[in-house]
């Protein structure tokens, strides 16, 4: 009973924080920030299935983020607002196909080579998006993407994204604690031993890659609806880079770490980014400190102040 209660704590905080965002004074701006936070939060959480859980550092997850955004954006733009939802449903299916192809190719490599191949694929996608003006409108991006009437308005769209993201995160959370999650954990810690148990490391890695990529694409699709404006830079490697940074900032070893990281990062960017143009310098310094002193992120810092907080932040022990 105690264990169940402790599992619920992060969820209660999750609902309090993201539900509370709706009631913050000065609404509009914060609802807008909250949309970015939950969507990037889904991106970071699904990225962490690969990175923190399975131990695969992909530097190209922006590819799927951009893919989701462009499928949704282009469909709604050319066929009308009703196709926004259909596109959003099609996004994970397309992402599954693409990620099986790319995953099968890149997972044959290990370590740095895997990281670099994923980076190369994402950069290639970015280049194609920039150059193929007829299809993607190149560097202009796509603006004024229509949404169905029900989803217009910040609050409505926030509620919609909140529902979708929460469903996705709940799925990933169950996955994290499932036997499948334990296998992924095992692959990160000692992949050789996983083979000794008769399981295929490659297949599990591929499945993790496909799951992570599909949820990333859903996040991208949702992003297309925030301002109705998307840009090829969603494919660019700095996008993947910031997600990695946010994940590290929050703590890659706990399930809720990435969301904590995203929340702090976006709020910081909102505050600091307004007052200085040297924002990436600030990020660089934060990242340096995190890597050198707190490699386990904010969850790791919490460990300093007592085990209770550390457990609340994640670090799920499977029964």
């Amino acid at each position: 009973m105690m264990k169940r209660y402790k599992d619920l704590v992060p969820w209660i905080i999750y609902f309090l924080v993201f539900g509370g965002m709706l009631f913050v004074r000065g609404g509009g701006h914060y609802v807008h920030l909250a949309m970015q936070i939950i969507i990037l939060g889904l991106f970071a959480t699904s990225f962490n299935v690969l990175f923190g859980k399975t131990g695969l550092l992909s530097f190209g997850q922006a590819l799927f983020y951009g893919l989701g955004a462009y499928i949704t954006g282009m469909a709604a733009k050319s066929f009308g607002p009703d196709y926004f939802m259909w596109a959003l449903l099609a996004v994970p299916l397309v992402a599954i196909v693409v990620s099986i192809l790319l995953g099968a190719l890149s997972l044959r490599l290990s370590d740095v080579y895997f990281t670099m191949l994923t980076l190369a694929f994402a950069q290639l996608a970015w280049g194609i998006t920039i150059k193929w003006y007829g299809l993607t409108r190149g560097d202009d991006g796509i603006q004024a993407i229509p949404k169905p009437a029900l989803l217009t308005g910040n609050v409505n769209y926030y509620l919609f994204s909140f529902l979708v993201v929460t469903a996705c995160i709940y799925f990933l959370w169950r996955l994290d604690r499932s036997p499948f999650g334990s296998v992924l954990e095992g692959i990160r810690q000692n992949s050789l031993r996983v083979t000794f148990t008769g399981m295929s490391v490659f297949r599990h890695q591929l499945l993790a890659y496909v799951i992570s990529s599909s949820f990333t694409a859903i996040a991208g699709g949702l992003y297309a609806g925030i301002d109705g404006s998307i840009h090829p830079d969603m494919f660019y490697w700095t996008m993947s880079g910031s997600i990695i940074l946010m994940t590290i900032l929050g703590g890659m070893s706990g399930f809720f770490g990435p969301i904590i990281g995203v929340t702090i990062f976006v709020l910081l960017e909102d505050m600091v980014g307004r007052s200085t143009e040297y924002w990436s310098f600030v990020i660089g310094i934060i990242m340096l400190i995190m890597v050198m002193i707190f490699p386990h992120g904010i969850i790791g810092i919490a460990t300093y102040f007592g085990k209770f907080f550390a457990r609340k932040g994640g670090q799920v022990d499977n029964p």
Binding site: L117, S200, I248, F281
Partner: protein
Amino acid sequence: MSIETIISQFVGGLSVSMLLFLVASGLTLIFGVAKVFNFAHGSFYLLGAYFSYQAIALFNNFWAGVIAATIGAGLIGMLLEICFIRKIRGRSEEGAFQILLTYAFILIIDDAVKFIWGPEYKTIQKPPSLAGTLEIGAVSLPKYNLFIIVLGIVIVIVAWYILSRTKTGKIIQAASTDSQMVGLLGVNVSMVMSLVFGVATAMGGLAGAMAAPLRTVTSGSGVEVIIESLIVVVIGGLGNFWGALLGAVLIGEVNAFGVLWLPQWASLLSFVVMIVVLIFKPKGLLSNEPTRKKI
């Protein structure tokens, strides 16, 4: 396509290759010896370009700029190795943390450069002695590009000599195979690593100073270069010196001729080459390690 066009594209491509080689060989040397993946290597190229700009502004001499770039970038490289990269050695998931740490360097150096020298584009003139062109038959080749090619070849020969014919080179090679054993034999391995890091980043700085008259100097150029050199190094085989040379020549020429063939898509060709190479030869063209994971 006339033979003159082919020759002038080839020479142009080769000079780009040599600049790429200077950056990529440093990257590969650091990976081979220190097992560090220096994602920030392009930032030393960037620092080289700006140091050179500053020195030329002070002394009004191109070569003073080249020397300042080489020494300055090398010193900063060594400093970063001693203060940061060395400290995270041996941590679990070291590779990922190295990439993140050096990614932080990119962000910091890019903005620091913008802060110190301002965001506007900088231009550096070619030295007067290398300004004109050299006429060979019907082909006219810029002297500066020819000089870069000669410089590149000299550096290849010197590096080959040092790595395979001197005691220092033997130690470096041994350290890349088994650094623990080298340490047991009484060699100060940490110092060798810092030294390698310094030399490699100095080569990056040199490349930055040499490339500056050909491209404009901006704070974003470090990132462009690192992506290109990553492709070069990965194609050739990480940690393989000759692989970096082969990869650099391949990518330089693919770009030079790709522009004639597919002007709009040329910048994507390097990625296509890299993806094709990695699919068929996952550890790069010049690697004789087992190419696939056993599992």
